[in-house]
């Protein structure tokens, strides 16, 4: 449904873009840096899920081309039985690795990050995901304009519960991935689908599709995050953007919270080559 809204905004924008877009210089203020916790635990189907990575960085001025990494932090996850999984930094990269993580569907985990004498915590549950079915469809007259390559993949929703999904698309021609979140409202228990089209898609392109099972709380978070990442800034059809708060909490000092999110998903992934 959120997607529908996005489609509608797209239409509005399509109508307006007989005007023109131009990259402009806008003077911006810079806020003091804040810790960013990029902790997405992904248990890809068919793997053990033992190897996991967490990345720590800070915010940077908007026009900078990179963000500073955070080194020297203590990072670990505990499960409900208080088993501790330590994440060890590859020196000076801000990337913290774990090799003995034990993923269990519906298990609740707690992340702890200790940095600069401050302790940050987050708690989440590992959420299951259905398989991406084998019948991926390609339509060469897709998209809004009817002249884009469009691919459509299917998965079966579980009718017994409310489910939330995230779709991640990585292509060889775009320097960053694209995400979308979905809920099964209006589709409860039915076969659901994901659609991806882009005017730049051409035969031979490789499209990596990832389907994540996510919690409702993470769905809400990503929903806001993606609308903010999608180019806010107060257009007439834009809802006002704000700092997106995740689940990483500083118990001692509520103003010194961290950005980012601690999420655990079961993930199915498929590579598709455009025909």
């Amino acid at each position: 449904m959120k997607k529908t809204v996005q489609y509608i905004s797209l239409i509005l924008i399509a109508l307006l873009t007989f005007g023109c877009e131009k990259v402009v210089d806008v003077d911006l203020d810079t806020a003091p840096p804040k810790l960013v916790v990029d902790a997405s635990i992904q248990w890809v189907k068919g793997t053990s899920g033992n190897e996991q990575k967490i990345k720590l960085t800070t915010t940077a001025p908007y026009y900078n081309n990179s963000v500073p990494v955070v080194s020297g932090a203590t990072v670990f996850i505990t499960n409900s039985a208080n088993v501790v999984f330590n994440f060890i930094e590859i020196p000076n990269t801000g990337e913290y690795l774990c090799t003995d993580f034990q993923p269990v569907i519906n298990e609740t985990y707690t992340l702890t990050v200790i940095y600069n004498g401050q302790t940050f915590n987050a708690t989440e549950t590992l959420t299951a995901v259905p398989d991406i079915e084998n019948n991926i469809e390609q339509n060469n007259e897709g998209g809004f304009t009817g002249d884009e390559i469009e691919i459509k993949f299917f998965y079966q929703d579980n009718g017994a519960e409310d489910n939330f999904y995230m779709i991640g698309i990585k292509t060889n021609y775009k320097p960053f991935p694209e995400y979308g979140v979905l809920e099964d409202r209006f589709f409860q228990g039915n076969q659901m689908f994901g659609l991806y089209s882009n005017e730049d898609l051409k035969p031979g392109d490789l499209v990596n599709i990832k389907l994540y099972g996510i919690s409702q709380q993470y769905y809400n978070y990503m929903n806001v995050l993606l609308s903010v990442a999608g180019g806010g800034g107060g257009g007439p059809f834009q809802s006002p953007p704000a700092t997106v708060r995740g689940n990483v909490v500083n118990q001692a000092d509520e103003n010194n919270f961290a950005l980012g999110y601690f999420n655990l998903s079961e993930v199915d992934t498929v590579d598709y080559t455009i025909q």
Binding site: I8, I11, L16, V24, V224, V228, G232, G233, V249
Partner: protein
């Protein structure tokens, strides 16, 4: 309760005392019409210089005044019409129907005493702008057509969210806080094509009045303004056709008598051409609108008139057969004017009005219908008790039927499950009494009281929540979340689910300093029971209306305004300066990430906040001469605040006041019309405004491979200053003279110096480099257009 009783007693006292006082007088009354068409004229000034008193015609062209017997001069004045002066020896109750002649039809006259517009010094009415269609037609046109909404945007205190945006904002009010009436029927969406055109076909419109403050008690239900628009009745003397052919849209109007001098009809249609706004030459896409105005008028006798008006408009968008969107208003209205006596005018209206929104998304397999319907009965009486005392009273009842959404699969393969979002019903009765009274020669007052009630009715099953809170504060994450319902509560058909009532006092006073200047002040309280669920600066057609209920409280406005009004240099110029302050309670705001579309539990994403606005408005007009026009300037601030409900809660924007999306610190408009000769007339509008308040990022971060802008306080930055100059030239060929076919060419250029105004600035990752960038979207560069108008 005590206040209520006192006020009513107070009013009754006045009525009694003035009825007895009025006995030795005679009544002069009648209807004022256009000499050529029999069209009744609204707001004609009738003045008696010997008595220094006067009156105006009402919305149906009727006037009535009680005067002591004697000999008087009567002056009839109406903008764009030739003035008329008559002598009368008033010895008994007298009916005087007058026909006035339009100025433009007397071009051969050597001396034209143009009837000038000027500030109304005496009337206890302020913050009101009147525009006749003749005035609007003098202004430059944009996209080839005279547009009522664009013309009111040139007035002080009126703005909109930006270029090509729908709706308008009055004194810092949101677009849904305007009561828009077309022949007394409520219009829910005022724009076609997302704001490029208004839904009002100016050919079919007679007159409009915009109330920004001091709103009389006969109006209610919205808190920011009333835009009161009247359609033409149709020519009851001769059959006429007029129309216009433009590059973007065309229109045609036919009017004529059904029974000569007694009954008339009017039909006006308008349509834009398909594919218009889409560059794509692909004929699978289209975007167009059409609308139809109709009116039947029948005069049974001197005392009884019947009017049947209708409006039907639709916008249609379709893209690649996969997306189809239709929306629009329909209105049907039957009115009966009845004169009980020379002093008592009445109007009874039965009104049906609806707004429909439909969407089909073929690729999702999804069909969505939504809308609002209302059934309205109104009975208004106006009592002309004496030359110094008028009384109006009446009742208004509205029954609402809201359909927030019917969702169904549009084909058998669709994965969509059908769903009906809960229909909502409500009933809004109200009563009012209003007086206009001249207390002394210098001091007059308009005061009134409206009592409005609102009942949310079943049948509906609604959620119940712990502590009656549908939105909960997650104190760990410091965010608002939807509350989980604890159960449901079922209401039967027409069972009251929630009810509200409000007493709305209104007051306006005018103190005349001398014949040419006055000061005025006003206060009004108003209640609004409907809310447009919209989280954007400019409403979109798919925003849904929702009634007040257990969780969403009625909006309550208090506004005060004071003003200074002056005509000078023999009415050549007029100056109106006003300042206002207003506050609105229970203005709803939305939690971050609120999903507003097809949400069956909207209470889970809204919080009740408040808003305030204050400002200074200056309007300087040049009323006469070859060059006429006005300068309007507004300095204002519009803010909103949604504090936390408990000390832990942050509220929206940390509970701080923030500028509304339509706040404009400075707003300047210069409008001019220049009549060079009989052949050429020129018009121009210059607009200069502070850019729209927006939120810019103060840093960014990387999460899951994407770059996220991080935002600080809401609406603390502004888009670049917005300005443009529009010009038009109208050519009336000389051969028009002495022939039936009258043609004219209108050439215009919108934004002649091609200013690239920012509609928005968005912050995103460049899809080739992956680096952050700021992107400005501009909608219009210079837009030339040409239209040929004709009538016969």
């Amino acid at each position: 309760m005590i206040l209520r009783k006192t006020s009513i007693t107070f009013l009754i006292l006045f009525i009694c005392c003035f009825s007895s006082y009025a006995q030795e007088k005679f009544i002069l009354s009648g209807i004022i019409t256009d000499a050529k068409t029999n069209e009744t004229l609204i707001g004609v000034n009738i003045y008696f210089p010997e008595l220094k008193t006067g009156t105006n015609t009402n919305e149906y062209g009727f006037y009535s005044i009680s005067l002591p017997k004697g000999d008087y001069t009567i002056q009839y004045n109406y903008v764009s019409y030739l003035p008329l002066e008559e002598k009368i020896n008033l010895q008994q109750n007298t009916k005087k129907n007058i026909a006035l002649t339009e100025n433009a039809q007397q071009l051969d006259e050597v001396v034209i005493i143009e009837n000038r517009k000027k500030a109304d010094i005496r009337k206890p009415e302020m913050s009101v702008n009147k525009l006749t269609i003749a005035e609007i037609k003098k202004m430059p046109v944009i996209l080839g057509e005279t547009d009522i909404l664009k013309s009111i945007l040139q007035l002080p205190g009126v703005t909109n969210a930006g270029e090509g945006q729908s709706g308008f904002n009055v004194r810092g009010g949101a677009a849904d806080q305007n009561l828009i009436l077309l022949d007394e029927a409520t219009i829910y969406n005022s724009s076609h094509l997302f704001g490029f055109f208004s839904v009002f076909n100016s050919d079919a419109i007679k007159d409009l009045k915009l109330y920004k403050g001091g709103i009389p008690a006969r109006f209610g239900g919205r808190v920011a303004s009333v835009l009161d628009i009247y359609q033409k009745d149709g020519n009851s003397k001769n059959f006429h056709v007029n129309g216009g052919i433009g590059l973007i849209s065309s229109r045609l109007l036919a009017e004529g008598p059904i029974v000569k001098d007694k009954g008339s009809f009017l039909v006006a249609g308008r349509s834009s051409y398909a594919h218009l706004f889409l560059k794509l030459t692909d004929n699978k896409n289209s975007a167009y609108f059409y609308d139809l105005n109709t009116k039947l008028t029948y005069k049974f006798n001197e005392n009884n008139n019947l009017f049947l008006s209708g409006y039907f408009g639709r916008d249609v968008f379709s893209l690649n057969e996969s997306f189809k969107n239709t929306y629009g208003n329909s209105v049907l209205n039957l009115r009966w004017n009845h004169l009980f006596s020379d002093k008592l005018f009445s109007n009874m209206s039965f009104i049906y009005s609806d707004y429909y929104y439909g969407l089909t998304l073929d690729f999702v397999g999804f069909n969505w219908d939504s809308g609002i319907k209302n059934y309205n009965f109104k009975y208004d009486l106006k009592h002309y008790l004496s030359d110094k005392f008028k009384l109006a009273y009446g009742l208004n009842t509205v029954y609402y039927d809201f359909n927030p959404g019917t969702i169904e699969p549009n084909n058998s393969e669709s994965g969509i499950n059908p769903d009906q979002l809960d229909k909502k019903y409500a009933f809004e009765p109200s009563f009012y009494i209003e007086t206009e009274q001249q207390l002394t020669k210098k001091f007059s007052v308009n005061y009134g009281l409206r009592y409005s009630m609102f009942y949310r009715l079943g049948s509906q099953e609604i959620n119940t929540y712990a502590n009656n809170q549908a939105v909960v504060w997650n104190n760990d994450l410091k965010i608002y979340e939807k509350a989980t319902p604890t159960g449901t509560e079922k209401f039967g058909k027409n069972e009251t689910m929630a009810s509200f009532n409000n007493l709305e006092p209104r007051l306006a006073v005018a103190y005349t300093l001398d014949d040419n200047q006055s000061v005025k002040a006003s206060y009004n309280r108003m209640a609004q029971y409907l809310h447009l669920i919209s989280n954007t600066a400019s409403p979109t057609p798919l925003d849904v209306w929702t009634p007040s209920d257990k969780f969403i409280k009625p909006q309550l406005l208090d506004q005060v305004a004071v003003g200074y009004f002056r005509n000078f240099s023999k009415d050549k110029y007029s100056l109106e300066v006003e300042t206002f302050y207003k506050k609105v309670k229970n203005r709803i705001d939305y939690i971050d990430g609120a999903d507003l579309i097809a949400n069956n539990a909207i209470e889970q994403v809204v919080l009740n906040g408040r808003s305030r606005a204050y400002g200074l408005e200056v309007l300087l007009r040049k009323n006469t001469g070859k060059l006429s026009g006005w300068i309007s300037y507004t300095l204002s601030r519009t803010e909103q605040q949604t504090p936390g409900r408990t000390p832990e809660e942050y509220g929206i924007n940390y509970g701080n006041w923030y500028k509304s999306g339509y706040d404009k610190t400075h707003n300047l408009s210069v409008t001019g019309a220049y009549k060079l000769n009989e052949k050429w007339t020129f018009g121009s509008i210059f607009t200069l405004q502070t850019g729209q308040p927006v939120t810019f990022p103060d840093s960014y971060y990387v999460y899951q491979g994407i770059q996220i802008p991080n935002y600080g306080g809401r609406n603390e930055s502004n888009l670049p200053t917005y300005h443009h100059l529009d010009v038009s030239a109208t050519l009336t060929p000389r051969k028009n003279k002495n022939r039936k076919w009258q043609g004219e060419w209108v050439f215009s250029v919108y934004n002649i110096y091609n200013r690239m105004n920012s509609a928005s600035i968005s912050f995103r990752q460049n899809s080739d480099t992956g680096n952050n960038e700021a992107v400005r979207l501009s909608i219009f560069g210079a837009v030339p257009s040409v239209t040929y108008n004709f009538k016969f």
